[in-house]
Symmetry: C2
Subunit: 104 residues, 2 copies
DNA sequence: CCAACACATAAGCGTACACTTATGCGATTC
DNA sequence: GAATCGCATAAGTGTACGCTTATGTGTTGG
């Protein structure tokens, strides 16, 4: 769950696609495969990487495993980003939102 | 300068170390090598990757090349992070405490 | 029970990545 | 103007990565 795990996990476009899909709502591994052309083992391996980076967490339901976004990973990214606050461009809306929340 | 370039660039711990060092202030490639055990070509290659990801920008001064943080890359990361705002942990307060702990 | 299912793990393979040594190139210095 | 300096590029190499096929593990329904 290190900073290194996080960035390495996000370096792969397929994993970012999986992550984005999960952002729309939690779902199991099979459902995640729909729309993305990927084999079952590949998906399982990607989820394993995302899980050990704390970007995603699992919840067993019988033989199904429901996956969802893990806020812990996002927090670590936010921490990393905060270190470079001095260089944040002023006129980015997304940053303003981030700033507001973190200043609270 | 795609999202992919950014995350791939940050996936390498050496490049993150270079980036962090630049956050303390712009400097040339030779100065960047001090403290980090790295060959001159390796440094040049890392800087090239960071540059094409818009994480860093260069400024030629004679035979020296001064490197500095490029806010554009940070903006893209912030945009990416903003997409998952719904999952940001509520207790940003705790996040800030964590930040201070990491600063030692 | 046992067959089908959801998912994980193992082993092998091609490719991308980060490094090395060697060389090139433009700018300064003497 | 030749040597040196700061940096970039080329070419080669070991390793990590993401994929595949095959198999294992636990669960559920008929």
């Amino acid at each position: 769950m290190t900073e290194n795990d996080i960035f390495r996990a996000l370096a792969d476009p397929t994993r970012r696609a999986i992550y984005e899909k999960l952002a729309a709502g939690g779902m199991n591994a099979s459902a995640l495969r729909e729309g993305i052309e990927i084999s079952q083992p590949a998906m399982s391996q990607h989820l394993s990487v995302l899980r050990s980076a704390k970007l995603v967490r699992e919840e067993r339901h019988g033989r199904f495993v429901n996956y969802e976004i893990d806020p812990e990973g996002l927090a670590l990214i936010a921490q990393w980003l905060a270190k470079y606050r001095a260089y944040w461009p002023q006129r980015i809306e997304a940053l303003k939102i981030l700033l507001k929340d973190m200043d609270r």
